[in-house]
Amino acid sequence: MGRKDVIALMNDIITTACKFVTSSIGRKILVALTGACLLLFLVGHLAGNMTIYGGDVAAGGTSWIDYYATGLHSMPGWLLWSIRLGLLAVGLVHIVLALVLKYENYNARTHYQKEGTLKATLSSRTMVVTGIMILCFMVFHIWTFAVCGDPHNCYQVIVTAFQQPWCSIVYLVALCCLFMHVRHGVQSVLQTLGLSTRKVRPLYNIVGILFGLAVCGCLASIPVCVMLGILK
């Protein structure tokens, strides 16, 4: 393979890549792949959060969540920042492409005087709304716990925050949005990646609902337990 052949091949690959990321299906696939990454991140985040049930120093034991949070922060700087920036990039691709697709969809429509819906679920029709709500919540979430929080005193920071009812309510509302988003997202990812058939589609739907219920239920249990005085 000569130099010219390599250049020609690179040229073809870049041309196709450009066409892919500007096509409807290509962008949908990118939204699906980044969505899948975010779903995996959600599972990891949930696993970490569940360490709060491991007890607190004040109660006489060691605080698992403080240990976990300190552990995360003691990662080498380059690793910690690559994970953070990687997640930011994945999130940005997901959000920006989804908004661009939505904008195009808005322009592709002319509206009916009398709207009718046969099958589309509320969550599937409100993905952009719930997505934006989750984004707003994430800014608030990162501000309260990551920027203003203290990894050495993680347990107390969480309990103090959720003892304020408004804070718990914000979290519970955000988790409802997350459930709606994930419930459609799971089966939508599988359909967009071409892994869906009429045989498994109903199963994917149930998996999506169960996944959403499990993740959002477990995450919601923390503010609920704090408000009920189980975590203190």
């Binding site: 196709t16 969809n105 429509r109 009916y112 819906t117 599937s124 869906s196």
Partner: protein, 255 residues
């Protein structure tokens, strides 16, 4: 056999540039064995009798096979009974009902007059790749060309698409994915269509994007509204085939 008295809320628009509006008509004494289009014929006869402009709508075979009739009935293309408008019968409605009748709406389907829209965009998608380039002869003898039963069934189901555009009209994003995917799958599944599979998929998807259709968000409204029961499995297949075709194009594999 009861006759129905209905109130119709019909979209009227003189031409593409005019401002459209909903007008109310009384449909009196409609036999319940009439089709939806025959009901409009009865209303139109009365309008002509009164010296008014009849309601313009598309129709042709009135047998549910040509894909020419359209109409969005109460917000759902073809009325959502898994049949075309010409096969929708008035027994599906009750005496005293109010029925909203609108055109198939999408930016890619420019309105021509009243309930008539221009669905040429679908033909343009076919012209981009929904064909086999060489002559493949007449229908081959049975078992002359081995095709798995399940593959043949899937190709047949996809080929049932009559190109009416209900998928686009029902889609909350006005996407043409169900139509494009059915037309691509029908040929891609069979031996006659396979040699040009990648070329076809790329050409049809790029044409679909260029025509200003929306992007699929997996709402499955299209499948529910389709009078021919085309499955969204075809959309999953088109997504798969598109990924493969892009990869093949990038490294110069032309199948």
């Amino acid at each position: 056999m009861a006759n129905l008295n209905l109130t119709l809320k019909v979209w009227r628009q003189e031409n593409a540039q005019a401002q459209g509006r909903i007008e109310t008509y009384k449909a009196k004494n409609i036999p319940d064995e009439a089709s939806f289009l025959e009901m409009l014929d009865i209303v139109n006869e009365e309008l002509v009798h009164e010296g008014k402009e009849p309601i313009h709508f598309d129709h042709d075979c009135r047998e549910g096979i040509c894909g020419m009739c359209s109409l969005t009935i109460n917000g759902v293309p073809h009325g959502g009974k898994k049949v075309t408008t010409c096969q929708l019968h008035m027994r599906q409605f009750k005496d005293g009902d109010t029925i909203w009748i609108e055109p198939f709406r999408a930016a890619a389907f420019p309105l021509l007059r009243d309930l008539v829209v221009d669905r040429t965009a679908l033909d343009k998608i076919i012209a981009a790749g929904g064909f086999v380039d060489v002559r493949t002869g007449a229908a081959p003898n049975a078992n002359n060309m081995p095709v798995r039963k399940k593959t043949a069934d899937a190709a047949f189901d996809a080929a049932a698409c009559i190109g009416c555009g209900a998928c686009v009209a029902s889609c909350k994003n006005s996407a043409a994915m169900l139509f494009t995917s059915a037309k691509a799958a029908h040929l891609n599944l069979l031996p006659q269509g396979q040699p040009e599979k990648n070329k076809r998929v790329l050409a049809m998807v790029r044409q679909m994007d260029a025509l200003g259709f929306g992007n699929c968000t997996n709402l499955y409204e299209c499948e529910a509204a389709c009078p021919k029961g085309i499955s969204v499995d075809n959309i999953a297949k088109l997504n798969r085939d598109y990924m493969i075709a892009c990869a093949a194009e990038a490294v110069g594999v032309y199948s």
